[in-house]
Amino acid sequence: MDLIPDLYRKEYGKMVTVLCSRFGMAYMDIAEDIVSDTFLSAAETWGMKGVPSNPVAWLYAVARNNALNYLKHDKVFEKRVRKDLIQGGERSFEMDIDLSGQNITDSQLQMLFAICHPSIPVEAQVSMALRVLCGFTIDEIAQALLTSKGNINKRLFRAKEKLRAEEVEIAFPEGGAISARLDTVLVYLYLLFNEGYYSASVDKVLRKDFCLEAMRLTYLLLGHPPTGKPKVYALMALMCFQASRFDARIDDSGELVLYEEQDTSRWDQELIDRGSHFFVQASGRGEISKYHVEAAIAWWHTHQVAEQEKWENILRLYNQLLILEYSPIAALNRAYAFFRVYGKEKAIVEAEGLQLTGNLFYHSLLGELYTGVDREKARQHFVQALALAGSEAERAVLEKKLSNN
């Protein structure tokens, strides 16, 4: 029965976040222990007595009781947390644990802002949010990020130490600080989405879950007025447009399907429509962020119009995106769009000007551009790309190109 893993995924993060925001960041380990104990009791009790009619309510009630018991009986906890709470002006020992929907949402948003604290390295932010906010297990995180469990544990440990040392509060930053921190939060959410979207991990379900979690958290930001900014709507639109192709870009055997070869009937029209809806809300308020431009690029990718028109628009948007902010991947995508509009010879000049030797996508793009133009150069670039490829799926695509060259 998958009930418990499913609930764990959905509820673990919410419960830890609420408890942690009640106790303070320094006691995250205790919050995690309480929630883990709760799931342990669930496994035992439900196994013996059957599953309660409302399992989520059961979990919340037990977590709440466990937390209150901790408050009353745990010596360490009593000395530390209660003392801190009293010093913080809390008079009531019978403090409450509010597991209402609204408080869960608020706590999750506040935790998101806390984790995106500038003192935490971005790698650690990703692992931390996946664990604490989204409830992925250490195993799952390690698998999706293609690293070891030990590494993830180290990152989490360091992030917690940092949060403790910096005395980061689980609260929205004050006044103007919220919009400064919002940019970091958006970078983080887009990164989380991309970890799912582009991850080389073979577990398709898990990867999709990462994307959905990123979308869920972005959606929470939209529901909170100080953070419901045009750029947040734009990011949400971007995620919808990208996610609409999730099923089309990986075939049943887990291999990557290149954009040109995707079965367009597997594009999710409903997500495209949702994306358009968010994009309308992102627009017309005088702000054009890089997320607006990227969402527009993604929109053109989801539309089946004449190739020339599509790629001219995509090229123009990549120009605009790069003028806003340079990134190697945008530069490479621009060179590809340049090829689609002006042909291989001109695109080779643009691509070689990028000087990104040692970048997997640089070599695979040049391999592609030289195919049919200069066979030897195409081969050299594909071979270099192959040496840089990290996953089986990437290697398979490149080997196919090399053998067709």
Binding site: R316, N319, L322
Partner: protein
């Protein structure tokens, strides 16, 4: 990396030139977009700069003398600029050589940005 301003000079005081057809305007926009995008794609764009307008422009001279427009005494005037970052002036000049300005009868002036501590 050094920074250079590429300053666009032209002698046609119109914005945009009214004799152009919509297709030509589109082409002009595309060539500017590709030129700027190409600089940015090589991570050589330090500042996207600005176009400078004609309407509502004045020149102020000593003695409360205010005249219309930037084009009182010069035949050429500046209509925009960007800032690039390149290893030396030669690369900045190479970038300028491909500027769409040159194909519309204008010129591009390449000038180094002077750092605050540079007294040379």
């Amino acid at each position: 990396m050094k920074e250079f301003a590429l300053i666009f000079r032209t002698s046609t005081p119109t914005e945009p030139a009214p004799q152009l057809t919509p297709a030509q305007l589109q082409e002009m926009m595309t060539s500017w977009s590709n030129w700027m995008g190409g600089i940015a794609a090589r991570d050589m764009l330090a500042d996207g700069g600005h176009r400078l307008g004609i309407r509502e422009s004045k020149t102020v001279a000593p003695g409360n003398v205010v005249t219309d427009g930037p084009y009182t005494e010069v035949k050429e005037f500046i209509n925009g600029y960007i800032v690039v970052k390149t290893p030396s002036v030669e690369e900045a000049v190479e970038i300028a050589k491909a500027c769409p300005m040159l194909f519309g009868g204008g010129k591009v002036e390449v000038r180094p940005l002077v750092a605050p501590d540079d007294n040379s």
